[in-house]
Every structure is written in structure tokens, then in C-alpha cells.
Symmetry: C2
Subunit: 208 residues, 2 copies
Amino acid sequence: MISRENIEKHFPGLEEGLYEELLQQGEMVHVKAGETLLRFGETIRSIILITGGLVKLYRADEHGTEFFLYNLEAGQACSLSMVCAVQHERSELMALALTDTDILKVPLSSMESWMKVYPSWYRFVLTSYRERFEEVLRTVDAIAFRQMDDRLEDYLRRQIELLGNPLRITHQDIARDLNSSREVISRLLKKMEEKDILHVERQAIYLH
Amino acid sequence: MISRENIEKHFPGLEEGLYEELLQQGEMVHVKAGETLLRFGETIRSIILITGGLVKLYRADEHGTEFFLYNLEAGQACSLSMVCAVQHERSELMALALTDTDILKVPLSSMESWMKVYPSWYRFVLTSYRERFEEVLRTVDAIAFRQMDDRLEDYLRRQIELLGNPLRITHQDIARDLNSSREVISRLLKKMEEKDILHVERQAIYLH
DNA sequence: TGCTCTTTGTGACTTTCATCACCTGATAAA
DNA sequence: TTTATCAGGTGATGAAAGTCACAAAGAGCA
């Protein structure tokens, strides 16, 4: 359901007129858990704002190997879509709905005019972009400077922050996100369990 | 020397009025090779446009270990400075002048008003940002999916593209950029020499 | 010419992590 | 209830790359 309240709640601090425009020009789309929102190489046709649910953004190589970058939740925007949209560029990332997700699609054409008229939009766009950039930099830090056990703990904390404790996920899926292998993740989880950092059950990780 | 021609040459396609503003409000600063333009955690006070020379952007961890991200040359902008500047954010990166470098510093205050008035500025900012984002994503790919020999070859090609053939650099410095060790780089270079990909001399790498 | 510093070469060893093979136990479907 | 499938456990092995120790070669300079 597209509603003024919903948008105001998730995207506070915008101008009155901008809320009106978002309502008029935006199109609300519901995406089911597991569906792909954006594929690598796909031409971006609209700006995507998340109004509910959880989306995972990841990179994939030519063999289909994946690498998790960051999540987007309600109140955030696919900044790639905003910036690529300007020149009808293609997506560099894959986006997958982790839960049922509601998105507000805004046509590209709005972007440029809003940029001029609404300072809050301009700030929103640049802030989103900066935040995403920082997340990717944190990812670079992780793979460049840190080891698997460390990265795994960080990953679990971030996921639990978003999805709740316990985290319902298989070792295989964690391995895919971290570009590791199931065996390695299982072994590391067991070590962390021995250190009393967490408790592992089938399909569930309880962080202490 | 700050000159209209210089700016027009490196930043083509902007509006007349914007060139005037850049001249009036910009401050030309010369930075010597080896000097640091931006330190991690430093508050960003102005937008930085490169009008000459070569700058290296890198990430560093708490132990001072470095990791090369990308270079900026004339005609490019420190996109971090543009986006961080909006909210007086701190720098996430280190920037080092590799050669003598000329930069045009523009006060933050100009940013918001130009964004409204000059569509070309808005496009320039978003395009810069997207390009930098893509470079960082390429870096993520490299460390996530590829091995050292591959990354080294890629690194050498990119550096030679910018700095010319032969590349004058020590193995130690390459190792620092790639977060590897000198011995590993030396050995890989030797292997590449055997494969006739390049020729190694003291402080110089000739790519075939 | 000799001395020193920087850069590079090299063997031996270690660590981290991926891979393989195979097993156990839980869950669900037939 | 039996069987198939999926999640997870575990030892053995190997490859990539980091570390250590030390040698050698070039460059600069006194």
C-alpha cells in the first residue's frame, strides 16, 4: 500500500512538495522473498526506494560465485539506481529480496528536477551514496586486512542486528556470502562455540 | 596557475557560468610529490578537483598497513570530498600525491547552490561518484575472486597506463599497494618474466 | 676504492584456507 | 515406515601466500 504516512515514516525530513511528488510519480511494487530485484548488467530504468523488507546487495563473478556487500532496509535507497540512472547505466551489482519487500519505483526523469528543487532530496541522494560507499570500504578492509574468523564474527553480528537472534541460516549460505566454503564456516563456528561466543543449532545461530 | 583554459581543458562540457564560478571561488593549490592531501579521519572542508598530476587513494588499517584503491588524474575529482563535504563528514581514505599535483579547492558552500543551478555540475558529481564506486567494486572483485599473480598483472597494466612503460617502482612499494610482501611480488615478477610478459630491472618493470 | 644503504633473490618453513571424501543425524516425502 | 534429501562434522591433503633468515648485486658517496 502506498501511503503518505508510510513514506514519511521511512523517509523523514523531506519537503512537503517532495512527499507529494513521491506519491504521484512513484509506483509501489511488492517483491517476494527470494526474488531478484536487479541483475548484473541490467539497464537501470528507475530509482528504487525501499519502504519495507530487506534486500541483499552482492557482487558475482563470471562463474556465479557470490560475494556479499551490504543490506538495504526500509528507509534506504538503492544508491546505484540513483546514480546509474542519470546516464542509463547498467547495474554493477545483484540485488535480492531476503524477505518480502516493498519498493517505491520512481522514474528517472524525476531525479534531475528534484535535485534542483528540493535540497532535502539532494542531501538524501548524496548521503545514501556516501553510506553505501563506506559499507563497501568496510568490506574491502575486511577482505584485505582481516581473517576468516574475524570476518565471520562481524558478518554474524551485522546479520543478527538486522534479522534478529537467533540467525536462521545454513552454513552453506554463510559460506556463499563470505566467498568461503561450508566446511571452513562449520569449523569456525564450532571454534566460536567453544569460546562461548555463540551456540550453534541446525539452521540457527544464537549469538551470546 | 589558475586559468580558464586549464579548467576548460580538463573539465569540458560545463556551463559558461560554472566556469566563471570555478575561477572566482576556487583556490589553486600546488602539492609536491609525496605529500598527503587527505588523511583518514580528517574533516573535509572543501571539494577537490584535480587539474594536473596524479593522486593515489588508499585505505589504511590501524597498523598502518595500506591498500591501494584507485588513482585520480587531471579532470577528475575527489568524489569523497564532494559527498562528505555535504555534511562535513570525515575522510574514509588517504590521498597521496604521486607526482607534483595541482588541485582546485572549492568551498563547500558552492556545492549546494551549483547543484541547483548547473545541471552539468550535478551530472559531474554523480558521474564521478559512480566511477569511483565502480573502481572500488573492481577492487573487491580482485581481492575476493582472484589470485595474486592475476592481481599483480592487472595492477601493473593500470599503473603503466597512467605512468608509462617502464614502470619505475620498487617491489616493496608494489607489495604495499597490494597488501602482500616483497618476496611474493619478486617471485611472481620472476615467473612473469619467464613467461615473457615483462622484463624486470632494478626499479623498473618493462611490460611487453 | 672501499663502505654503506637500498633493492632484489632464494630456500625453508608456517599459516590459512580450500578441497575431497566420506560419515552422521535430522527432516520430510512417499 | 522407509527412503531420499539436506545440513552439518571431520580427517587428510594440497595450494597460495606470508614470514624468516641471509646472500648478493647495484648505487651513492666519502
